[in-house]
């Protein structure tokens, strides 16, 4: 036990003496969360909109006023004819043009229908889609308003209700996702270079000719990084909670427990990589390439697993991040407990044991 403690203390010295890495370790999560939280978002705000109003009557003025009053759009241009539409898109600032047909109000009153067109710049499909939806719903609302007096027979009005994230805030998706990616990367990269560094520096040769056992070395390497990763997790959750008002519906205790479990799985994966790599560079590249892409793409963080091809769905099962994202979303947003999440917990636990076990087995007790 004393030997193990001595080893852990030594690891802490390495960590705290390497100031540059520490700054990256703790700076990266903060920057990433703020970036994803503020900049990378599917919501639209203050989108530049141009109006081509061929009617210029009281009704179109009311609609334009409604649009301008919403926080989603900013009317930045008034166009005179269709020819200007493409010209203004090419300039790039305006993302959509709302075109009113001539005699809009007359048509509306006499024929009961009037022409309006939404033209969007679809170079950014997500924005174009959202803009079109938002504009449609504003027009819809206007239509409902003018129809208030009349009762329309046979009408289906769906009432949509969004559970767990009623405002569809994308930050609720990004906080768990980023937490997963960062914990995985930080933990795996940190530990994956820790054993290879000993190999490169030649200190492994001395460690081998000592009574230290493989499990003491491996657990001694994992242990200090658990603390760092826990601090990282706390920073990310605190940012989500205080800056982005991310709710924590479930138990804090379970949240902490599952986070630690995930941290262990990432650390042990890093250790596994370092026991099979000879140089720090290979270890780092392996953990970056081998872990980052699957964690981002196949974990369900950005792309829903249910819409992936079957082969990828199967592969996603071996990615610890997938299970952690289910866990953390469940706890944060739905407030469910271990009764529901036991399966994912067991999977993570099994992965940790597997990775650590293989690492100890793969750990070379000789130089060849």
């Amino acid at each position: 036990m004393k030997r193990f403690r001595g080893f852990v203390i030594k690891e802490f010295y390495h960590i705290f003496r390497d100031k540059r890495t520490l700054v990256i370790l703790f700076g990266m999560p903060i920057v990433q969360i703020l970036l994803f939280g503020y900049a990378v978002t599917n919501e639209i705000n203050n989108v530049d909109l141009a109006i081509l109003d061929k009617s210029k009557d009281a009704e179109t003025q009311k609609i334009i006023h409604d649009i301008a009053a919403s926080k989603y759009f900013k009317i930045s241009d008034i166009l005179e004819d269709e020819g200007q539409i493409e010209a203004i898109f090419k300039k790039g600032k305006v993302k959509a043009v709302l075109v009113f047909a001539p005699n809009f109000d007359k048509d509306l009153i006499t024929n009961g229908s009037a022409g309006v067109q939404i033209v969007t710049d679809a170079t950014e499909p997500n924005v174009a889609n959202s803009v079109s939806n938002y504009l449609s719903s504003i027009l819809q609302k206007y239509q409902t308003d003018i129809n208030k007096a009349i009762t329309i027979p046979y009408q289906i009005v769906p009432e949509t209700k969004m559970y767990y994230n009623p405002e569809l805030k994308s930050v609720f998706m990004f906080v768990p996702g980023i937490m997963t990616v960062i914990l995985m990367l930080v933990s795996a990269i940190m530990t994956s270079i820790s054993i290879t560094r000993e190999k490169e520096m030649g200190t492994m040769e001395i460690l081998l000719v000592s009574p230290l056992k493989p499990h003491q070395v491996i657990l001694g390497k994992v242990f200090p990084y658990v603390f760092l990763a826990i601090i990282n997790a706390i920073v990310i959750l605190a940012l989500g909670f205080f800056v982005f008002k991310m709710p924590v519906q479930g138990s804090y205790f379970l949240l902490a427990l599952e986070s630690i479990l995930f941290i262990f799985s990432a650390l042990s994966l890093g250790i596994l990589i370092s026991t099979i790599s000879e140089t720090q560079q290979t270890a780092m590249m392996t953990s970056l390439m081998g872990l980052m892409l699957p964690t981002i793409l196949l974990s369900g963080f950005i792309f829903p697993i249910s819409s992936m091809p079957v082969a990828l769905q199967v592969i996603s099962n071996i990615i610890p991040a997938k299970w952690f994202i289910i866990l953390i979303k469940g706890i944060l947003l739905k407030g469910v407990g271990i009764v529901v999440l036991w399966k994912e917990t067991v999977v993570l636990l099994f992965m940790i044991l597997l990775f650590i076990g293989v690492s100890i087995k793969k750990y070379k007790i000789r130089l060849e």
């Binding site: 004393k2 030997r3 403690r5 001595g6 080893f7 203390i9 030594k10 010295y13 390495h14 003496r17 390497d18 520096m201 030649g202 200190t203 040769e205 001395i206 460690l207 081998l208 000719v209 000592s210 009574p211 230290l212 007790i365 000789r366 130089l367 060849e368």
Partner: protein, 307 residues
């Protein structure tokens, strides 16, 4: 026997690093492995410290078999690899403390053993190991290898890259450690250090040329050695090689060491030959043999056998 090897062989692919190495090192002996770079010294050290498997042969260290009892060996030997292998970002004291802890001891417990050596670096105990000079690094590495009171000490080229004063100090330290009953196996490429060992093994290309006490090796040198000097060293070497009775000739500092194949060789004959070759400032004088002479002679003989 503290260390004993029988027919140890090791290959890396097609390259034969060691073949049929056998020798014994007595308890408390200072045994030197002398040979040039690439002779197989490091491989032999790694086999004895259980870091590599031999391809054939068997060896025992302090009574433990290097394959079966590797765990016992790892707890009871001190090993100092050729490359500086301590934690550069840890201070002198932290390094020493770490190695004491992983061997289940403390600095205080074995301080008397390392006191001699550690005193030299103690004033710098808060300095990072990476910032020490070459000599101080080796003293620290030696202290770390000794902190658990090993029965056998393996030092792979401890004096390579160390200044002459520190080299001398290191050898004095080894002599004192030996008096405390520790068996020491040390390797070096410096032939002048060989005479400081109790016994030496001359090793080249993975084979042992000779094992004996350094003085015996020198005393039993078969022929007389002459120091030959002339103003143009380069031309002198070429001309000596042309001399009909030459057995061997190679540069040795400012002189050339010359041995003759003729038992009745007279220096005056050689001088006359060199004068004919237009040399100036000629000196020919008999000189006692050194380990280096013995090594050159033996390696020449072994090359002849190989061919």
């Amino acid at each position: 026997m503290s260390i004993s090897l029988k027919n140890i062989g090791k290959s890396y692919g097609a390259v034969k690093a060691l073949s049929n190495i056998s020798f014994d090192v007595k308890q408390g002996e200072l045994f030197g492995l002398i040979g040039p770079d690439g002779a197989g010294k490091t491989t032999l050290f790694r086999i004895l410290t259980t870091l590599l498997f031999p391809d054939n042969g068997e060896a025992k260290v302090s009574g433990y078999d290097i394959i079966r009892d590797f765990k016992d060996i790892r707890s009871h030997v001190g090993y100092m690899p050729g490359r500086f292998s301590l934690y550069q970002d840890l201070t002198v004291e932290e390094n020493l403390n770490f190695f004491a802890t992983i061997f289940g001891t403390t600095i205080a417990e074995n301080y008397d053993l390392i006191k001699d050596i550690y005193e030299h670096i103690e004033p710098f105990k808060d300095r990072r190991a990476g910032k020490l000079s070459g000599g101080m690094k080796q003293k620290l590495a030696l202290s770390c290898a000794l902190i658990h009171k090993p029965r056998v000490l393996f030092l792979d080229e401890p004096t390579t890259g160390v200044d002459p004063v520190s080299r001398k100090e290191l050898w004095e330290m080894l002599k004192r450690l030996q008096q405390k009953g520790i068996t020491i196996l040390v390797s070096t490429a410096y032939m002048d250090e060989a005479s400081l060992c109790d016994r030496i093994a001359l090793i080249q290309d993975g084979t042992i040329l000779k094992i004996d006490r350094p003085q015996v090796i020198i005393d039993t040198f078969p022929s007389k050695i002459y120091n030959v000097k002339a103003d143009s060293t380069y031309r002198l070497l070429q001309d000596l090689a042309l001399y009909p009775d030459t057995h061997s000739v190679y540069p040795f500092g400012e002189y050339s060491h010359f041995t003759s194949a003729d038992p009745d060789f007279k220096p005056s004959d050689l001088m006359r030959f060199l004068q004919e070759k237009q040399h100036s400032g000629i000196e020919v004088s008999e000189t006692p043999a050194t380990i280096e002479d013995a090594f050159m002679e033996l390696s020449k003989a072994s090359e002849l056998i190989d061919n």
